[in-house]
């Protein structure tokens, strides 16, 4: 029995090692394409946190926290800060809060870049922070 569990955990941890970067990359893809295709910060954030949650299952919460380096609660703060900041940029220009500002030229890979996308990044980070805070705390029970 013990051997079987160790086997599963070995498979899981190996799989996770390869899956994690892929899933994180995918989450960023979902985030970025959201402005034009289904997706966006929220779903992207969920994908990323699923990946990290998987990691915590495979290696334990402590390891996941170490790997993440930043406390998920701080991630929430940072995400919120980015979201607010994206709205404040326009105020600096005398426009109302949360007015979209866009970089004129299209950038390679990203396409049109503007503050609404920055806002979505904030959403993305908040979602990761929130889901991980909850899952880590529950797993540590």
């Amino acid at each position: 029995m013990e051997g079987k569990e160790a086997m599963i955990s070995l498979i899981l941890s190996t799989a996770t090692r390869y899956l994690l970067p892929l899933l994180l990359l995918f989450s960023i893809f979902v985030l970025l394409r959201g402005h034009n295709e289904p997706g966006g910060g929220f779903v992207g954030g969920l994908v990323a946190s699923a990946a990290l949650a998987l990691y915590s299952i495979a290696y334990g919460v402590a390891a996941a926290r170490r790997m993440l380096r930043i406390d998920p609660r701080a991630l929430i703060g940072v995400g919120l800060l980015i979201a607010i900041g994206s709205g404040l940029l326009s105020m600096a220009r005398g426009l109302p809060f949360l007015t979209g500002l866009w970089v004129e030229r299209e950038l390679p890979l990203l396409g049109k870049v503007g503050t609404p996308m920055l806002f979505d990044v904030g959403v993305f980070l908040v979602v990761i922070g929130v889901v991980l805070t909850i899952i880590f705390a529950l797993s540590e029970e």
Binding site: N36, E37, P38, F42, V130, I134
Partner: protein, 116 residues
């Protein structure tokens, strides 16, 4: 189809409310879940149903072509789902703690704070 959904929403409300009126906190949570599904589906139906025309502007087009599903209720529901998730997560953990502290899942045993 909207009539079918109206009936389905009514059923979800009935089930949700019935579950909320039980004495078990677990049923209470499940009832809340059903209730939030019902509300979201209600708003979705209220925005009127359009089959298979998501509000995505086709490549090359400048604007959405008619007919399209109303994007606004979708955005509202999305917000509502996410808020609902946050609240639900909190509520779930709350009942867990309540159970741990009070030692029962029977809501009828939790009326000390109301008693004279």
């Amino acid at each position: 189809m909207d009539v079918v959904l109206a009936i389905a929403v009514g059923g979800l409300y009935a089930a949700g409310l019935y579950m909320m009126m039980r004495r078990s906190i677990v049923k209470l949570i499940i009832g809340l879940g059903l209730l939030s599904h019902a509300s979201n589906l209600l708003i979705f139906t209220m925005g009127r149903l359009i089959r298979g025309r998501p509000p995505l502007i086709a490549p090359g087009a400048e604007a959405l072509a008619e007919p399209y599903a109303d994007p606004l209720p979708q955005a509202l529901i999305l917000t509502a789902i996410v808020i609902g998730f946050g609240v639900q997560a909190f509520a779930v953990v709350l009942i867990k703690r309540v159970y741990e502290i009070v030692g029962t899942d029977d809501l009828d045993q939790m009326k000390r704070t109301d008693e004279l």
